[in-house]
């Protein structure tokens, strides 16, 4: 616990450092000194514009997406006793995404309200989580994690099919938005979005963290948890709701970052172990650092200029993930 807390503080420090370097990267070059000067009220007009209008919101968004997906992945893995569970693999992200794209693409709006988006994503995520429950459990039988996961995987491809079908109905600009969203692009770069997003992550992050102790014993086994006095059914639903809320907001503002909910918990687990009370923040921070780094590559390297961040993350994560699987 103590060791985990120390590692978390180090990770948070690392996140801050990457964050400051991130301020430095972009088409308009700025020295670290100038970044600091501008951050604390100084600086000239152009550096203020670059920093406050473009870079800071983008960096904040990147961190928030990481926090949401990273924590959500931990909860799903612990609840289902499977390291391959994540908002992406279970189709929860796809469900969120479907509703958001239906709304954005079909209603042709680019100035939707900041509240509506996460709510739509949440509804989509809850809808798909509910469907997984409905189809993956039965009243007479006990909870079977594998069955839930397989149901999620199946549903996920169904959403993919619906999404592809919808693409046929769209015009070019809508199509481009949809394609970029699916590849994972940080598109919600607006301060009003970010404020809502931050409050959302803070609220549900805290609610999840409160259940950390329960998550620990559920992760050991449903029967063990029952023996220790946990109402497993009720806590399962409470924690699932938290996880869906966290991932949905990330999907709503960030886009589809499939690998983040898988790779964040994985790396964090190796660093801090299984205690959810240190694993939750660690996974969120690690995922945040990954999004920041990937986005810096996209912003700073003209070669990658127009590539969605999610693709960069996948390209970087897949080899690492395969390496982990081979070692396991």
């Amino acid at each position: 616990m103590l060791r985990g807390t120390v590692i978390n503080i180090v990770l948070a420090g690392l996140l801050l450092i990457v964050f400051f370097f991130g301020c430095n990267v972009g088409q308009y070059r700025m020295s670290i000194g100038k970044v600091f000067e501008t951050l604390f009220g100084g600086g000239d007009e152009s550096s203020r514009l670059a920093l406050f209008e473009y870079r800071l919101p983008r960096l904040c968004l990147a961190i928030l997406v990481g926090l949401g997906m990273g924590m959500s992945g931990v909860v799903m893995q612990d609840l289902l006793h499977n390291d391959l569970a994540s908002p992406g693999t279970l189709g929860v992200s796809a469900g969120s995404g479907l509703l958001v794209t239906v709304y954005v693409a079909l209603l042709q709006t680019n100035n939707s309200s900041a509240i509506l988006l996460p709510v739509l994503a949440l509804l989509g995520g809850l809808g798909s989580a509910g469907l997984i429950f409905l189809l993956g459990t039965s009243r007479k039988k006990r909870l079977q994690p594998t069955r839930l996961i397989m149901t999620g995987v199946a549903m996920s491809s169904a959403y993919g099919a619906v999404g592809t079908f919808m693409m046929l109905l769209l015009d070019d600009s809508q199509l481009e938005f949809l394609q970029r969203w699916q590849a994972g692009e940080l598109w919600g770069v607006r301060w009003d979005y970010i404020v809502v997003f931050a409050i959302w992550i803070l609220l549900f992050g805290f609610m999840t963290y409160r259940g950390g102790r329960t998550l620990n014993v559920i992760n050991v086994g449903y029967d063990i948890a029952r023996g220790l006095g946990v109402n497993v059914g009720r806590q399962f639903i409470y924690l699932s709701l938290c996880a869906v809320a966290l991932s949905s907001a990330s999907v709503a503002f960030g886009g589809n970052f499939f690998f983040l909910g898988l790779i964040g918990p994985h790396i964090a687990r190796r660093l801090v172990g299984t205690d959810a009370r240190v694993l939750l923040p660690a996974s969120g921070i690690v995922a945040g650092i990954i999004v920041l780094l990937a986005d810096m590559l996209v912003q700073g390297w003209t070669f990658l200029a127009n590539i969605p961040t999610g693709i960069v993350i996948s390209v970087l994560s897949v080899p690492y993930f395969l390496y982990l699987l081979m070692k396991a």
Partner: protein
């Protein structure tokens, strides 16, 4: 308060089928009771229902003179611990972390361990002889050590009653004895009421004060080993023709030589011979 656990007209089922129709039983306080019976007779089901891992369909379970329906989950967990059959934990968990989970029912908020919690955890590791492995990961333990660390977790729960579902599965003879000696030691030292499901009849007879033999979801007989461990019981509950002798070490009855009654394979072979 002579009985720790009483069940009244307890009916239990899985997936909609009733396995145990109506169970009336009384488990003596401060004693070791083993539930024995053939595969599928419902012995594990009863243990799980009493440990409320599965819901019972009807009837009531009374522990320490209180119907558990009137108790909160955590209150029950302070009075009764249950160890399911071959539990699994995330391999990277250390022994101490796992044993600390036994304090769950007593904790509040974010679950920082109090000084008392820590003392109890160390005590539990000490009695189970696991203190030297406290920082070792569960994945790096042998089968016997793993079973002891689970028992330590149940001990950290500080309950008067411990239920165990086949605590000796997958262990060799010496480690089976070690686990049972540990339970006997706890029973004698702490007056813990121990109820377990055991497959090995001779070990059950040797280590239990009472045996509860089940057949087809019902109690076939219940009492001291000398009254339960009989030729008739073996024949009725297990379809076994066995010879009961007295164990020279423990003075308890044991089944020495045994055979299947109506060996179907013999009959099949005989038919083959004729053909």
């Amino acid at each position: 308060m002579e009985n720790s656990i009483v069940t009244r007209d307890l009916s239990i089922g899985y997936d909609g089928t009733i396995i145990v129709p109506s169970l009336n039983s009384e488990i003596h306080r401060g004693k070791i009771t083993s539930i024995i019976g053939a595969n599928g007779c419902g012995k594990s089901t009863v243990l799980k229902a009493v440990g409320r891992i599965i819901k019972s369909e009807s009837g009531c379970i009374i522990i320490n003179d209180t119907d558990i329906k009137t108790l909160k989950n955590k209150e029950i967990a302070k009075q009764m611990a249950i160890l399911p059959q071959s539990p699994t934990a995330p391999g990277t968990l250390t022994c101490r972390e796992l044993v600390a989970y036994g304090r769950f029912p007593y904790q509040k908020g974010f679950g920082k361990l109090s000084k008392e919690d820590k003392e109890i955890i160390d005590w539990a590791l000490e009695v189970t002889n696991m203190i030297e492995f406290r920082d070792r990961e569960i994945a790096c333990l042998s089968g016997g050590q793993r079973q002891r660390v689970w028992i330590a977790m149940a001990l950290a729960q500080q309950t008067g009653i411990i239920l165990l579902d086949e605590p000796t599965t997958y262990l060799d003879l010496a480690h089976q004895l070690e686990v049972l000696e540990l339970l006997k030691h706890l029973n004698e030292g702490q007056h813990t009421t121990i109820v377990m499901v055991l497959h090995d009849l001779n070990l059950a007879s040797r280590y239990s004060d009472y045996l509860l033999a089940m057949y087809d979801g019902k109690i076939d007989r219940y009492g001291e080993p000398k009254d339960v461990m009989t030729k008739e019981m073996l024949a009725h509950c297990f379809r076994i023709d066995g010879d009961i002798v007295t164990d020279s070490r423990s003075g308890k009855p044991m089944c020495l030589s045994f055979d299947l009654i109506d060996n179907r394979f013999d009959v099949a072979l005989a038919k083959d011979d004729r053909g």
